[in-house]
């Protein structure tokens, strides 16, 4: 295996994570869960670039997620745009917004940045809830199904493969970014902003780049969830959703690509499993999050990898 660089080993593992389960899944329900995991994973990979590589926390990424989703709902319904074109518009819009607000907001650090982004996410959520004429208000909006080459995309199996493919592409781009000069600059910033600055890296520029990329990833995930579910609601932009995305990043492992997918999988699948415990669901979810963080402090993926390496040595 040593002929293959670690980057491609990771990508092959991710590819296997998509293909192998996809071949053996017994029912639509499983494909549905799989698609939800991949869709969340896209947003989580983007947020992980921001948190794990650049060391900046955002508590507002659900806002970008929702912008993607609502573009898919609003443009086709109100202006007759093709759903895929609408998705593209939503992704671009989220990127532009991130670019516009990124520079001032990213001047904030640590907890101040967390509150700045939290406010941004809340404001987006408030507009989506209150501008009923445009967004359908608190009940949300129906989303027209997308049609590709005459096939209406609505089955869970379709979406499993679509979201899986796009997730692998997004992971590939993220992996390349990580190994590029930009990625090195970002890691330098995370480890020590002052040292990076002394080396001639302009923090504001690189932080802005990764902030925009992470917003675009979130918006891609948002458009896909909208097209897959056929429904968007302001909950997509809620504080809890932002927190969920951050939790996925941290539980999976900051700075780890596989970890992003593992984190998304854990937080999507666990609640499904825990529903059999009815009213104990939230309680158990909380206990499991605590146990994961106490015993695999680096996150599940790096934590487990560390355990195996420790055994072998």
């Amino acid at each position: 295996m040593s002929a293959i660089s670690p980057r491609y080993r990771t990508l092959l593992a991710i590819l296997a994570l998509v293909i192998l389960p996809g071949l053996v899944m017994p029912s639509t329900f499983y494909y549905r869960i799989g698609a939800l995991v991949f869709i969340s994973a896209i947003a989580v990979i983007g947020l992980n670039l921001l948190m794990g590589y650049a060391g900046q926390v955002s508590l507002g990424h659900a806002g970008f997620f929702a912008i993607g989703g609502y573009a898919c709902a609003i443009l086709p319904a109100r202006y007759g745009t093709d759903p895929l074109l609408a998705a593209l518009a939503g992704i671009v819009l989220a990127g532009l917004l991130a670019f516009a607000v990124g520079r001032p907001i990213l001047r904030l650090r640590g907890h101040y940045l967390a509150v700045g982004t939290l406010g941004l996410g809340l404001l987006i959520g408030m507009v989506l809830t209150n501008e009923v004429w445009l967004t359908g208000g608190p009940d949300g909006m129906q989303v027209q199904r997308a049609t590709v080459f005459g096939v209406r995309l609505r089955s869970a199996e379709h979406w499993y493969w679509i979201s899986g493919t796009i997730m692998v592409l997004c992971a590939w781009i993220a992996a390349n970014l990580f190994d590029s000069p930009t990625g090195r600059a970002l890691r330098a910033l995370r480890d020590s902003m002052v040292a990076a600055e002394v080396m001639g890296i302009r923090p504001s520029r690189y932080k802005l780049i990764v902030f925009v990329i992470s917003a675009v990833y979130a918006a891609i995930a948002g458009t896909m969830l909208a097209l897959f579910n056929g429904l968007v609601t302001p909950d997509n932009a809620s504080f809890l959703h932002s927190v969920e995305l951050v939790t996925m990043v941290v539980i999976g492992g900051m700075g780890s690509l596989i970890g992003s997918i593992v984190g998304a999988a854990v937080l999507i699948i666990l609640p499904q499993v825990l529903t059999i415990f009815h009213e104990y669901e939230t309680l158990l979810l909380g206990i499991l999050i605590i146990l994961f963080m106490l015993f695999l402090r680096q996150g599940i993926a790096p934590g487990l990898a560390g355990l195996f390496k420790g055994r072998r040595a």
Partner: protein, 290 residues
């Protein structure tokens, strides 16, 4: 004039609760650098436990006292079983741990009790007091007064008692505090206990005005955190100012502009203030050590 006074009083009332939550954040943050997102759950425990015990037939003051004790016990458990074992973990990991803890607390309440909204009777009756054309609930004075008392008591305790000064020393430098013989583990545990108690007290005072249910903690944690950061995280004075300011902005924009955008004014202000003063109102200077 009457309207404005009305809005101001209701702003000060919710603002007092935010201030107490923000103060709780600050105490824990100063002692341990943990941003405790379970802070809102203490407020919920205070309100819900009082409702529960009061319904059992206990007198209100006894029920309230027991509720505070319960919250303190939960705060100590949070420290012992969740935060202390994670010593040395990075800041985001600690935040996720406290989010996990808040899920546990929020998940436990419906199992132990229920998911309904609950109210407590006003401590001094329900008849509004007429003042310059505004109708003010007497409970508002309890909330605002309670907040002022807690702030004064904490101020006295921190600055004028031996243990309080140990708390301040720990927040300035845990290492140096340890070296001069301060039991910093005790200080951290103590700050969790006091934060929990302060939060629970806020919950008890405000329940007659705003009602309570198992899930009120999240939004309070969010507003309290924003308030603490607005004030300048780590500064108790800033936390109280931040809380009152967020409450006032909310009430004034709800009254004068539109209640559906009441949070917008608060958060736009917070973002603008932070852009001008990146270290919050109290402006504790952040010095990067290389």
């Amino acid at each position: 004039m009457g309207d404005l006074l009305q809005f101001a009083v209701s702003g000060l009332t919710v603002g007092s609760v935010y201030a107490l939550v923000a103060l709780g954040f600050t105490l824990i943050y100063n002692a341990s650098e943990v941003v405790n997102f379970a802070q809102g759950e203490f407020v919920m425990i205070g309100g819900m436990a009082t409702v529960f015990l009061y319904a059992l037939g206990l007198p209100l003051p006894v029920a309230a006292l027991l509720a505070v004790v319960l919250a303190v016990v939960v705060g100590l458990m949070l420290h012992t079983f969740v935060i202390a074992p994670a010593r040395g973990a990075d800041a985001v990991t600690l935040i996720i741990l406290t989010i996990g803890a808040s899920l546990v607390i929020r998940g436990a309440v419906p199992i132990l009790y229920d998911k309904q909204f609950h109210k407590l009777p006003g401590f001094s009756g329900e008849d509004p007091i007429r003042l310059f054309g505004a109708a003010i609930q007497p409970q508002a004075f309890w909330v605002i007064g309670g907040m002022i008392l807690v702030v004064l008591a904490l101020h006295f305790f921190l600055n004028h008692t031996r243990f309080g000064r140990a708390v301040i020393a720990t927040s300035v430098s845990p290492m140096a505090a340890k070296l001069v013989g301060i039991n910093t583990a005790l200080v951290v545990g103590f700050s969790f206990a006091v934060s929990a108690g302060v939060g629970a007290l806020a919950g008890i005072l405000v329940t007659p005005v705003t009602l309570t249910s198992y899930d009120v903690g999240t939004i309070l944690a969010l507003k309290g955190f924003a308030a603490a950061v607005l004030g300048g995280i780590g500064s108790p004075v800033g936390a109280v100012l931040g809380g009152l300011l967020v409450g006032m902005l909310e009430a004034l924009s709800a009254g004068l502009i539109s209640s559906s955008y009441k949070d917008a004014a608060a958060f736009i202000t917070i973002i603008l203030v932070l852009l001008v003063m990146p270290n919050g109102l109290a402006g504790l200077k952040h010095i990067e050590r290389v």
